[in-house]
Symmetry: C2
Subunit: 295 residues, 2 copies
């Protein structure tokens, strides 16, 4: 831990799972001289204050960002355009604006559009989370040994990018800088498609008759249980992910559909060889992940 905080004043817009985890680790690692929190709902703000997550809390977004060296938008992506408009004229020149949303290319259009040229936009995405939400759900070690991906536009001030890298590394994360469009393609496969599938399958089970549903819950071990954890993720956040990363999600969904149809046909035809071959192939990917020390 350093004696001098990394940033003088950090403003968090939104204080859910990610925002409150950031607040906690920033406190712990002395990353901010002052933490200002602003929320849409008064109840959430009061809870953040009670939890000691900020030095100052306000419902006025413009007031909250005034004089901030770093502003991190931690609200659902559907709010970004409105947030951009609300904060634009209150930002101090040289301020860094970042976010934690799961889709990165649209950030330039939504949040970025309203921002003045005097500030530095460094979009970010910590690949970390739980199925819980709200200021109580956060914890300081959420980002530890997890990736945070940063997607600044070409030509972004390198000193600003470096400072955001520094923040996340001190929060325990591994950081990689990549192109926003590419980020969205990768995440469509690793995160968005799996979530959509989990939401679908759990929904399918929900529509069963009551007797069967009770048993599905009772005997949920082995497979289904993992899906329900994924499908319990924050509905607002995930709605916005699918709306903003529509093209990439529909594209991988198309591939998935083709592959599922092929396996379905193999089952219908009783083609055991094809099934065995496919199931053997997928084992290798798991090994790759264990080797990459992500398991």
């Amino acid at each position: 831990m350093n004696d001098v905080p990394l940033f003088q004043r950090v403003t968090l817009i939104g204080i859910g799972l990610i925002g409150s985890s950031l607040a906690r680790v920033m406190r712990e690692q002395n990353l901010a001289g002052e933490i200002v929190v602003t929320t849409r709902r008064e109840e959430t703000l009061n809870r953040a204050i009670d939890l000691g997550l900020c030095d100052r809390g306000t419902l006025d977004m413009g007031d909250a960002v005034s004089g901030a060296d770093l502003v991190i938008v931690c609200t659902p992506m559907g709010s970004y355009a409105a947030v951009g408009k609300a904060i634009a004229k209150h930002l101090k020149p040289g301020a860094i604006i970042s976010d934690v949303g799961s889709v990165k290319e649209p950030v330039f259009e939504t949040l970025g559009k309203a921002l003045p040229d005097t500030v530095h936009l460094v979009p970010g995405h910590p690949i970390a989370g739980t199925e819980h939400s709200g200021p109580d759900a956060g914890f300081a070690t959420l980002f530890k040994n997890r990736w945070t991906l940063l997607t600044p536009a070409k030509g972004t001030d390198q000193a600003a990018v470096d400072k955001v890298i520094d923040l996340w590394q001190r929060a325990g994360a591994m950081v990689e800088v990549m192109d926003a469009h590419h980020h969205d393609q990768v995440l469509a496969i690793t995160s968005h498609l799996p979530h959509l599938i989990a939401y679908t399958i759990v929904g399918t089970a929900t529509d069963l008759g009551d007797d069967l549903k009770q048993e599905v819950i009772q005997f949920s071990a082995s497979g289904f249980r993992d899906f329900t954890r994924i499908a319990a993720s924050d509905p607002t956040m995930w709605r916005d992910i699918f709306l903003t990363n529509k093209d990439a999600v529909l594209e991988v969904l198309g591939r998935f559909d083709e592959d599922l149809t092929e396996l379905k046909r193999a089952i219908r035809k009783g083609d055991g060889e094809k099934l065995f071959e496919h199931f053997t192939r997928t084992r290798a990917i798991r090994r790759g992940i264990i080797d990459a020390d992500q398991a």
Copy 2:
């Protein structure tokens, strides 16, 4: 632990993850006076002997089941018909025959068909497992606090059923007796469909270009990682599950397809309300599972 073993002689046909876990817990809880193991491959048998999983090992299946009070078939379901034929005339009258396969209705046709009327068939299915296979992968606590479902036909000798219930309960499992056809419907939803989907999605990722594939592995946290664990399950076992529970799997797959198409349409149309409503509904199922203490 009791002084008198529950069974005098237990024969395990196959000694993979489930069989070797059974051997270990039977030793620990004194459930068998003698454990005999038989396998198809000599290498596996030698490994089982080295691991101390049996009192006697033999490649001769008929010899292995001679004089056994309980025979548990722990091989892939594709082998059941051959196993039934091989052991039928060596079984002692009054012997109990059980298994651990994931699909139950076909057991009567495959394994059961060849068996003499003098023995008691009590099919079983421990809902427990890991993505690892083989005699080294097993452990004595695998079944602890997990369900084991038994699906004897109507009219099966109650004393035989009770003894198998006793075995599994002493192995730490919670036991429920249910109809075989109903079992296969429930498991198609809770286990077989999730596995098929996980196999599909991981396969889809495997087919990506090398660059993208590397990144999918690197950034696999959040969603995809869970799927790869599921999709690393034993290929032979899962091939047989899909071949033997074909009708139930294709039926739930049809429902799943409809639901996925609906969500896909919502994404394409940008219908945030529908997505939000669906994602909110699936959260409730997770709560049900947490309440059922399966999480």
